[in-house]
């Protein structure tokens, strides 16, 4: 190997293809990946939305009512409906990927992937149930 050789700098006869800007449309799995990445934007939006809600709460009943009116606007409703779908996609795709990123061991035995993903889903259901109980006033 030649020391200091770079990334094939000058070989005019080699054929180099360039990746198209729309490479992510070329394969279904690439598109799924891009949708998963885009879901982060919607998650970020929902964080902002929640912060605005907290701010309105802190400013008193009038501000809170104004916030509720604003969130009932069809455009905000539509955005939040899309956000909900992306949040579900975000959660499911990342929960399913968790076993690949984590090698968990119990003693000497590796924990099977379905258990790692399953525990994420279980936590999701548990937290959702808790919130539902809080909202309905059961606890």
């Amino acid at each position: 190997m030649i020391d200091g050789a770079g990334y094939t700098p000058h070989h005019p006869r080699w054929l180099r293809s360039h990746v198209s800007t729309y490479w992510w449309l070329g394969r279904r799995s690439y598109l799924a990946f891009i949708l998963r990445e885009v879901s982060s934007v919607f998650i970020a939006w929902f964080v902002v939305f929640l912060l605005l809600l907290v701010r309105a709460l802190e400013r008193g009943p009038a501000a809170y009512d104004a916030f509720l009116d604003w969130s009932a606007h069809p455009l905000v409703l539509a955005l939040n409906a899309v956000t909900f779908l992306f949040a579900v996609l975000h959660a499911i795709t990342w929960f399913n990927l968790a076993p690949q990123a984590m090698a968990v061991r119990l003693g000497a035995k590796p924990v099977p992937g379905w258990m790692i993903a399953g525990s994420n889903y279980l936590a999701w259901v548990a937290v959702s149930a808790l919130i539902l109980l809080l909202l309905t006033g059961a606890i």
């Binding site: 050789a5 054929l15 090698a103």
Partner: protein
């Protein structure tokens, strides 16, 4: 079942053309023929000018990787009959410069492979003389890294990785998986040295977990998993360094 199939083979002859073209060849399609058998038939009987790489024809040497109907495949392990009635399109591996026909330039991968030091590194002063025998391992210790040691350097993962296509500086799936193979080896002490190389932007953090490398790997190495686990240990290391700057 059809007894013949048309192969559309990408040709690039730099002395006569400036871009790739396709040439059709009709080849026999018995049930036990793989794509590579079809190419060998073309080379032997129809057109001796076709260039491609192959060696072992049994999924070990890793040299016959090509793009078959848009998917990176080992052509010695991909049956022609699965593409019947055809045509089946054979192109060079994506994301690499093409030298001729189906032959790609692999120098970039070779340089990156060496960069991650895929060999056992011992601490100085902890190297056992040959006379004392080998470093022994339990089956459990072998199991820790065995999956990642199955890599045959066929580069299908590089061809499937859009990140590598977009940013040729990215070290790439196989090289990182092989670094991880040595990091997880109980005989190795080189994890810190490798981390210096792999914690760069073009290292593990370049990966956005598309996951295609794992899907196309003919040896079930799971490079995507290796990279994400590497990220996790890198993050834990930097947290440790932040909270316990004088060491644990």
């Amino acid at each position: 079942m059809a007894d013949r199939i048309t192969m559309q083979v990408a040709r690039y002859r730099p002395e006569i053309e400036s871009d790739a073209t396709f040439q059709d060849y009709e080849v026999p399609c018995p049930r036990d023929w793989v794509i590579l058998d079809g190419l060998n038939y073309v080379k032997d009987r129809l057109d001796g000018t076709l260039s491609y790489r192959w060696s072992c024809r049994m999924g070990i040497c890793g040299s016959c990787g090509m793009t078959v109907n848009g998917e990176p495949k080992l052509t010695c392990a991909t049956f022609l009959a699965d593409y019947a009635p055809g045509p089946v399109r054979v192109e060079p591996l994506r994301n690499f410069p093409v030298i001729r026909d189906l032959v790609v330039e692999i120098g970039d991968f070779m340089r990156k492979l060496v960069k991650v030091k895929p060999w056992i590194i011992r601490d100085e002063g902890d190297v056992r003389p040959l006379s004392q025998g080998e470093y022994r391992q339990t089956p459990a210790e072998l199991q820790d890294y065995k999956q990642f040691s199955m890599c045959i350097n066929c580069m299908l993962c590089y061809a499937a990785c859009p990140i590598y296509g977009l940013d040729p500086k990215f070290i790439g799936p196989a090289a990182i998986a092989l670094a991880q193979r040595y990091n997880l080896d109980s005989r190795d002490h080189g994890a810190r040295e490798r981390m210096e190389i792999l914690s760069e932007h073009a290292g593990i953090w370049g990966c956005t977990f598309v996951g295609e490398c794992t899907k196309v790997c003919p040896k079930n190495v799971d490079p995507a998993g290796a990279i994400q686990r590497y990220k996790l240990s890198a993050a834990v290391e930097s947290l440790k360094a932040f909270f316990m700057p004088r060491g644990a």
